[in-house]
Amino acid sequence: MATVSLKNVYKIYPGEKGREVTAVCDFNLEIADREFVVFVGPSGCGKSTTLRMVAGLEEISRGDILIAGHRVNDVPPKDRDIAMVFQNYALYPHMSVFDNMAFGLKLRKIDKREIRQRVQAAAEILSLEQLLDRKPRALSGGQRQRVALGRAIVRQPKVFLFDEPLSNLDAKMRVQMRTELVKLHQRLRATMIYVTHDQIEAMTMGTRIVVMDAVLNPKTGQKEGIVQQIDTPLNLYHRPRNMFVAGFLGSPPMNFLRGTLHAVGEGIVFRETGNPGIELHLDPLPAAVPFIGREIVLGVRPEDCLLAPEGQGANTFEATVEVVEHMGAETYLHLVTGSHTVISRSPAAAEHARAGQRQRFLVHSDRAHLFDPATEKRIH
């Protein structure tokens, strides 16, 4: 039952020759009770550092972190009532599975019977009952991760922290553990913060996602970890604030086409740079008006760029298929247009397409995004 607040949190490391490195820059977030918040971003964006500041493993350089309304900046990790699951499991190799889970409880001088009950209950949830006497080295990667989870669960903490817990597992195990974690969240009704670099994990697990990026600060010449956008998965997907968020979420990533806007009668036409460029008719958008006659970036998700049905003329273009990737249920076509490579995510029906063919494609321009090339911010 706990909220977590991060207020203007900075992490500044003393760098070489007195130059400071800002790993996390002005992080603000209010996490409600029972939320599952995911920090996502490329490596070096400060997401793990932020999590470690919440855990108490890193000092907070500036700003405040509150857990359940109490400022915890100077509270040691053990008194923050949190539990953390690490990327490399971080099990105690010399202890059995039972002792690994019970260690934190023993340190808190909890009654032996109670410890046994809690460990048993956690082992049941994670199907570890048969493994309680084993040492970690006798377990598989997935089992070790379960033990690490169990160690967190038995503590019954206010907040669970996960630092890329699935990245050491193989692909199949990862998908399985992903759903188990979501189920666990529903079952435990606890606040969870989850760090990952995998946008699929972020999209599938989070109730809210914090997208972070390492942005070059022109003043210092150093990269700083800055929050790009905080929202629910679908809002992020459909209304990304800028080109980074738009490109980071979604697989395959969004296509960005550079071009210019022109007014044609009532409507607006996007003309791709290069020859022959794609021409698309857009709905009249008030936001786009100031950009008429100027450069712009058009963002189109691969699923909004499909093989055109016979006879469709509007908002279609012809392009050469360069690569065909069969996914089974759908087909990814890599196209060469005027000056870009565009990925089309077409239904399985497109699987007859062959590399080298010229094909007509339809763009759902009503679902396209427009970005200002200078600021990379979304216009529409």
């Binding site: 493993l57 053990k78 690490f86 490399n88 971080a90 105690y92 010399h94 808190r108 160690r151």
Partner: protein, 382 residues
């Protein structure tokens, strides 16, 4: 494979030869210790002397036909000698028998440790000498008894003790106890102190850490000889001279090599185990004690063994600081023994040496797996 094994066996024999010689010599009677050509296997010889079958000491071989008889006058009266056949007529000589070349003089072996025996001697043909392998285990208790400075005569009760007062109690059991005290206290100190210092260098962040570590490592460059006099001065002003303290107390302050060894080992242990423990509620001390130490047993075993070997074999330290016989360690007592008995009775010296090194050998056999693992380990994934 065969040549490899052959080479390995040859090497093993070569390197274990001194040890083998030590043990075999310890089991010999004195007259077999220093002969040429060397005699490896301890033996006992039996022959008939004056009609009695007794154990004998082999004397010189008769080179050319001679006469065997007894001197009956002069200072040598009563002793038996070999003379050339021409000297048979000497009035001071009582002829017993003529002996051909190749026979051997044999003398009866005394039962007592110091006395040569009855002195009865005879000359017998080589085929009349019976030889058997005989390991003289009795050398060991005698040697240990002599380590306290007692002479053979004293042991037999034929001479009074030259030691008086407290020194009379100094003997092998006391030397062994002293050595064990020095080793055990030293090992405890070395393991504990080096581990805690290495933990500070390996896992904690504090200002000046790296500089201080460099200084620590630099102390390895100082030759021990340079430190002898200043250290003596320090221990003297502490009033520790003549006690065992200078031999084990310094171990409680760490040594550069062991600190380095443990620091490197600790650095291979994943940091996130410590962090997990911190979140679980461990203090820094508990992380060290409950997590890091149990995971470092191979490295700690190496430190313990290194220090044990050093302390057990240390000679220079006891020689400098121990002024009183009752505080002697085995290494020093052995040296003292050697100088007192001026290197004549090799069998006792070797017996005493064998007993002294025995614990080291036993320890090494038991610990060699851990020892090798500790040296070879790189700290794999848990």
């Amino acid at each position: 494979m065969l040549p490899v094994y052959a080479a390995l066996i040859a090497g093993a024999v070569l390197f274990s030869f001194p040890l083998l010689w030590l043990v075999l010599t310890a089991l010999k009677p004195i007259e077999q210790t220093m002969v040429f050509p060397p005699q490896f296997v301890p033996k006992a010889y039996y022959a008939e002397v004056e009609g009695r079958k007794v154990e004998v000491v082999l004397g010189p071989k008769v080179e050319e036909p001679s006469s065997w008889g007894e001197v009956i006058a002069g200072p040598q009266a009563g002793s038996r000698v070999l003379v050339s056949p021409d000297a048979k007529a000497d009035p001071n000589f009582r002829w017993i028998k003529d002996v051909p070349a190749g026979w051997r003089v044999v003398t009866e072996r005394g039962e007592k440790l110091s006395a040569p025996g009855s002195g009865a001697a005879d000359v017998v043909p080589p085929e009349a000498i019976e030889s058997r392998v005989k390991l003289r285990w009795g050398n060991f208790p005698t040697a240990l008894a002599m380590m306290g400075g007692r002479s053979l005569e004293e042991l037999e009760g034929t001479a009074p003790s030259v030691n008086s007062g407290e020194d009379a109690r100094a003997g092998f059991p006391l030397f062994l106890a002293n050595t064990v005290i020095v080793c055990v206290l030293g090992v405890l100190g070395a393991v504990f102190a080096n581990a805690i210092i290495a933990y500070g260098f390996a896992r904690l962040r504090w200002p000046g850490r790296d500089a201080l570590f460099a200084v620590t490592i630099a102390t390895m460059m100082i030759p021990a000889a340079v430190l002898m006099v200043p250290l003596y001065g320090v221990f003297k002003s502490l009033g520790w001279i003549g006690t065992l303290l200078p031999l084990w107390a310094p171990a409680w302050f760490g040594s550069a090599f062991n600190i380095f060894l443990l620091r490197q080992f600790f650095r291979t242990l994943p940091e996130d185990i410590s962090e997990a423990a911190r979140i679980d509620g461990c203090s820094e001390w508990r992380i060290f004690w409950n997590i890091i130490l149990p995971l470092s047993t191979p490295a700690l075993a190496v430190v313990a063994l290194f220090h044990f070997l050093f302390a057990w074999n240390d000679f220079m330290g006891p020689l400098m600081y121990l002024t009183n016989k009752r505080s002697f360690t085995l290494a020093l007592a052995l040296q003292e023994y050697q100088s007192q008995h001026t290197g004549v009775q090799w069998q006792y010296l070797m017996a005493a040496s064998a007993v002294t090194i025995l614990p080291i050998i036993v320890l090494f056999f038991f610990a060699q797996k851990t020892f090798i693992r500790g040296i070879a380990t790189t700290g794999g994934k848990g």
